[in-house]
């Protein structure tokens, strides 16, 4: 899918990320191209969220560079950057009452001029995003009255409404039930393939990762990383080393799955 002539959406050049002195990545070199779906896997505390925030330009890398479309992240104005890349953060909560539609419309913020109202087109984009996550009839509900899973889907809809080429999602499946986990990921992946966007998913579930991602980045601890095609990277031995737990691989009708032994 990736057009070889266009610059990568995101490129890490010798990127080192550390949390409180502990390395998450050491001189990481990788490129995220349009049409790709990446998953980031690692143990608790391996720094998945920190890395995602770094890739989104929400914090600076400790060394090395990160470029979005050949321009370093920190050289963008925030509004400009938010038109290229969008982030789903973990556990978003608003202290004020806001309707679901208003929340999703906030995704349009980087596209609006100062003190401009959302147009009918913006509302239409927000409604389409809501129907993609199956919340079309929830538009007037107060976000504070929604369940955890519904709030998560509303947050994903807001990210979709932001209409960026690169989507970074931190545990998009948290709070979601089994059906919605599959449905939302399927629709996200389809959406990105159809309009040649790229997805980066921080996931806990290796089976979901193997099912939906075509690229994988493993954080093996102490700054050691492994990345590449999902089929090559997601091997039983590697995953056992990654999680420090023995695994059993099973071939199923929907692909390979791993069970903790």
């Amino acid at each position: 899918m990736a057009d070889q002539t266009s610059p990568p959406l995101l490129r890490c050049i010798d990127t080192t990320v550390t949390i409180a002195g502990m390395p998450v990545t050491r001189q990481l070199n990788m490129a995220i191209e349009a049409g790709q779906c990446w998953c980031i896997l690692g143990r608790n505390g391996a720094g998945k969220t920190t890395l995602l925030h770094t890739l989104a330009g929400l914090r600076a890398a400790n060394a090395g560079r990160i470029e979005c479309l050949k321009l370093e992240l920190h050289k963008y104005r925030r509004r400009q950057l938010a038109r290229h890349l969008g982030v789903l953060l973990q556990d978003q909560e608003s202290p004020f009452p806001v309707s679901v539609l208003e929340t999703v419309l906030q995704g349009r913020h980087p596209h609006l001029h100062t003190w401009q109202w959302e147009t009918a087109a913006d509302v239409e984009i927000a409604r389409q995003a809501l129907s993609m996550v199956g919340l079309e009839s929830f538009d007037q509900r107060n976000i504070q009255t929604l369940s955890g899973g519904e709030r998560q889907r509303a947050a994903i809809a807001a990210l979709l409404a932001q209409d960026t080429q690169l989507l970074l999602l931190d545990e998009p499946t948290s709070h979601l039930d089994l059906h919605h986990r599959i449905q939302i990921l399927e629709r996200l992946v389809q959406h990105c393939r159809d309009s040649s966007r790229a997805l980066v998913l921080v996931l806990h579930d290796i089976n979901l990762a193997a099912r939906f991602a075509d690229r994988a980045l493993l954080l093996l601890g102490d700054g050691v990383t492994l990345h590449g095609e999902a089929d090559e990277v997601l091997q039983t031995g590697t995953l056992e080393r990654l999680f420090g737990h023995p695994l059993v691989a099973v071939e199923t009708r929907v692909g390979r799955a791993w069970l903790p032994a």
Partner: protein, 324 residues
């Protein structure tokens, strides 16, 4: 649609503002016919109208508008609908600053500057001390604010106890707020315009900032710049209100809350609306405080506290969510 209530709401608030101005000009210990006062410029009625009631009415409206704005801005800054410049001790800081300048014999500009410095210092203290891990914790925030307010109260009492009493405006002015000393609010009006225009300009970012700083950054808000601006504007509005009318509480809490109940949750509506409603509320409260036990006058701060305290407690009670 969520946008529809905006215009009728703003028009209704504008009408209410005009009505409350009329009400305030008509209220006082001496009955004054406004039409007659305008027709005969040399009469006592005219003097009462132009020299007493008009300055006081203007001061009340501008002070209320400033307090409403300060409240709405601090609520975004601290991500808490219970934030109010009085409850958080910001007004106390401004009062202390103003009083200190007054005792040192400073001029008007130095007085305003000193009040502004006190408000800034106080906001900075609340901001840094109440910052829990990652997000704002209501209990911690309110405790910090209440303790700071008590501290400023003690400092104000100390200054007043040490000062020659007859030179000073009453104790109540600095602790509870009173419009009896109000003059035509020249600096206040200029300041209100600056704060209002900047806040309206910032309002789309305020909507996103209410979701948290990381969230706002991800949505394309230049967080550091906006946070600094909100912080400066909130302190400036508080300082101007305090130098005009002393330490008046709860307008900054009540006005934004009533508007959110009325559906004005979008800051592009809330900010202009809170200017009108804050002004109207304080104007009505002041007119009442002049007429309730006429010919004696209540300090208006007493009245706003009598309305604000039960409302604050109710909000605090309701903010306990069932899921903890």
């Amino acid at each position: 649609m969520y946008r529809l209530p905006a215009l009728p709401l703003l028009l209704a608030l504008a009408a209410a503002s005009l009505l409350s101005v009329w009400f305030s000009l008509n209220t006082g210990s001496a009955p004054v016919d406004i039409r007659e006062a305008i027709r005969t410029p040399d009469s006592t009625a005219a003097r009462i109208l132009w020299e007493l009631r008009l300055p006081r009415t203007a001061a009340a409206f501008v002070t209320g508008a400033l307090l409403g704005l300060a409240g709405a801005l601090m609520q975004v800054l601290l991500r808490n609908p219970l934030a109010d410049p009085y409850v958080l001790g910001v007004s106390g800081g401004a009062s202390f600053g103003a009083l200190l300048a007054l005792l040192a014999g400073a001029g008007t500009a130095a007085l305003q500057g000193s009040a502004f410095a006190g408000a800034l210092l106080s906001t900075l203290l609340v901001f840094s001390l109440a910052h829990g891990r990652g997000s704002w914790d209501t209990t911690r925030l309110l405790l910090t604010g209440v303790v700071l307010a008590a501290g400023w109260g003690a400092m104000i009492s100390l200054l007043l106890a040490l000062s020659p009493a007859q030179q000073m405006q009453g104790m109540l002015f600095w602790l509870m707020g009173d419009l009896s000393y109000a003059q035509l609010p020249v600096a206040g009006t200029a300041g209100l315009l600056v704060v209002a225009v900047t806040a309206i300009f910032l309002s789309p970012s305020l909507n996103v900032m209410a979701g948290g700083e990381l969230y706002a950054a991800a949505r394309g808000v230049a967080v550091n710049k906006v946070r600094t601006l909100i912080y400066l504007l909130g302190a400036l509005a508080t300082a101007l209100a305090v130098t005009q009318a002393g330490n008046i509480g709860f307008v900054g809490l009540v006005a934004p809350h009533l508007l959110r109940l009325a559906g004005a949750r979008d800051h592009r509506v809330l900010i202009p609306a809170v200017i009108l409603l804050g002004g109207t509320l304080l104007l009505c409260a002041d007119a009442l405080s002049r007429s309730l036990i006429a010919p004696r006058q209540l300090p208006v701060g007493v009245l706003t506290a009598l309305i604000g305290v039960p409302m604050f407690l109710f909000l605090l009670y309701r903010s306990r969510r069932p899921d903890g």
